[in-house]
Every structure is written in C-alpha cells, then in structure tokens.
Amino acid sequence: MNLKPDKLIPSLYGGLLIATVWAVPGLNFLNCLCCAGVMLGGFLAVMLYQKDITPDMEQMTREDCTQLGIYAGVISSIAAVLIQYVVTLIFGDIAIDMMMRLAERMQIDLPPEIYPMVEDAKNAEPNIIGSFLAIFIYIIPNTLFSFLGALIGWRVFQPKQTM
C-alpha cells in the first residue's frame, strides 16, 4: 500500500476558494446562503483529496476529511484577510458600495444613521493590526463551517464499504 496523498494542497485550494468567495466583492454574496462559500471550500478540499487517491493507496477516512476541513478553514482565515487587504488597497472599499447597492435592490430599509457610518468605513485606511486581529475572529466560523463542508464531502465521497 502506498502512502496517502498530501493534505496540504487540497486544503490550500479549499482555503483559497473560501478566502476568494469571502473577500472578493460580489462573490461574497454566496455566503448569504448559509455561508455556502465556506462550506464549499471544505467540500472542495475533500473532493480534490479523494481524486488524488489511487487504487494502490489506503482509502480516505473520516479523520482525513476532518483534518482537511480544519486545515482549509485555518488557511482561509489568513488568506481572506490578505486578499481583502490587497483588494482594498487596489480598488478601495468597493465591497461596501456593492453591499449598499444590493440592499437598495432588495428593497431593504436601512436606518438613516447607517449612511455616515458607511462613509466613515469607506474613507478608513487599511489597518494592518486590525487585519491581523480579524484573522482570529474569522478563524472560528471559517473553521467550523469548512469542517461541516468537509463532513458533507465525506458523506458524498466516502468509500462504499465504509457506508
């Protein structure tokens, strides 16, 4: 029996998917559907890992999927902050504009006091310390939902005899 494939690469792809969905304006609306983007990342990590397994290797286990989900969640938290930082530096806070347009489009009544806060947020400079702290805030939900996504992946791709 050959060794199982490395978990880092599938976790990295899964984590980057979560981070991209999370940090890129427009794509982040996917997370409005029960954090679908985050769960999709964990699911993708399991799918890619399962594809790397050849018949001469040991089969994928539930523990593998658990690890993949957790790794993808942690990677995504760091990557999301970095991507968000770069996006804000290059384009400014277009995410806020898109969110406001979405709220208008969906005919959501925003309280009037929100508009000055939005302007303040748009004019704020990117903050490295704040971004660093954000990693610790994102890590909890990202890891949790990526883990759940990976478990869904396990239920879908689990080898027949372990069902």
């Binding site: 985050v38 805030i137 939900p141 759940l148 869904i152």
Partner: protein, 158 residues
C-alpha cells in the same frame, strides 16, 4: 453514541445561544465580538433579522431558522429515531433541502420577487433539518473518535 450526540447538541446550542446573546449584551465587548464573529457568515441586515430589546439578532431570519432547524432536528433525533437506523442518499438529500432556500434567495437577489419572513423561516429551517439528518451520524462519530483519543492520551500520560 448518545453521549456524543448530546455533545453535538450542546455545541449547536452554544452557537444558537450566541445569536441571542449578542443583542442581549448590546454595547458590551462580548456583544461586539459576537456580532463580528457572526458577520462572517451572514449579511446581518437589520430589516431581515429578528429583534430582542430593539437590537437585531446576530444573524438574519434565514440563518437563525437554519440553526434552529438544525438544533431541533438533532434533539428530535436524540429522543426518537434510533441512531444508525437511516441511511440517506447524501447528494439527493442535499439537493432536496437546499433547492427551496437557493431558489428563494436567488429570486429575491435578482429582484424577481421579495422573499417573506415566512419563506425565509420555511426554507431555512427545512435546510437546517436536512443538514442535521445528513450529518448527525458523522458528527457523533467524529466526537466519538475524538473522545476515544483523549482517553487514550490520558491513559498514556498517566
């Protein structure tokens, strides 16, 4: 495996508790931290959220319904259906439970129609229940393995 499922229910309850705790502790650091954590998984639009003390829940109505549906289904599974008795087809189950929520959310996003509180609660809780049916066995197995490893580690270090 009931002990493990109890633990899953406990963790899910803790997550749901945070949603209500954020408005109840409004103005405090805990509240700000909770709103920040939940903001990563929800848009938190005020007009689409339940309120307590005039403050919105930490997540919107749809998300609240998903989590409550998930938790309720776990509790029902704990006390009624014997574990390991059902083997659901994961892909079909996932499609069935996510489709109504996806359609409701997308049609609303595309401005074809405006989703109502009723449709958000209905589709959200349906998805949550489906997710619990799909994952409860796997979650209890993961917790079981984890607890077993902790026991082995404790006995080895003694």
């Amino acid at each position: 495996m009931k002990k493990e499922l109890n633990l899953v229910i406990g963790l899910a309850s803790l997550w749901c508790l945070g949603i209500v705790l954020a408005p109840l502790t409004s103005g405090s650091i805990i509240s700000n931290l909770l709103y920040s954590i939940y903001s990563t998984v929800c848009h938190q639009f005020d007009s689409r959220s339940f309120h307590v003390n005039d403050e919105p829940f930490a997540v919107c109505i749809r998300c609240t319904s998903i989590y409550i549906g998930f938790l309720s289904a776990l509790i029902v599974l704990r006390f009624s259906i014997p574990l390991r008795s059902k083997n659901y087809q994961p892909v079909i189950l996932l499609l069935i439970v996510s489709l109504p929520m996806f359609v409701d959310g997308m049609l609303s996003l595309l401005n074809v129609y405006t989703s109502t509180t009723f449709s958000r609660i209905g589709t959200g809780s349906f998805f949550g229940i489906g997710l619990a049916l799909l994952l409860h066995q796997t979650l209890t197995d993961v917790i079981h393995t984890f607890l077993k490893r902790v026991k082995v580690y404790e006995s080895e270090t003694r």
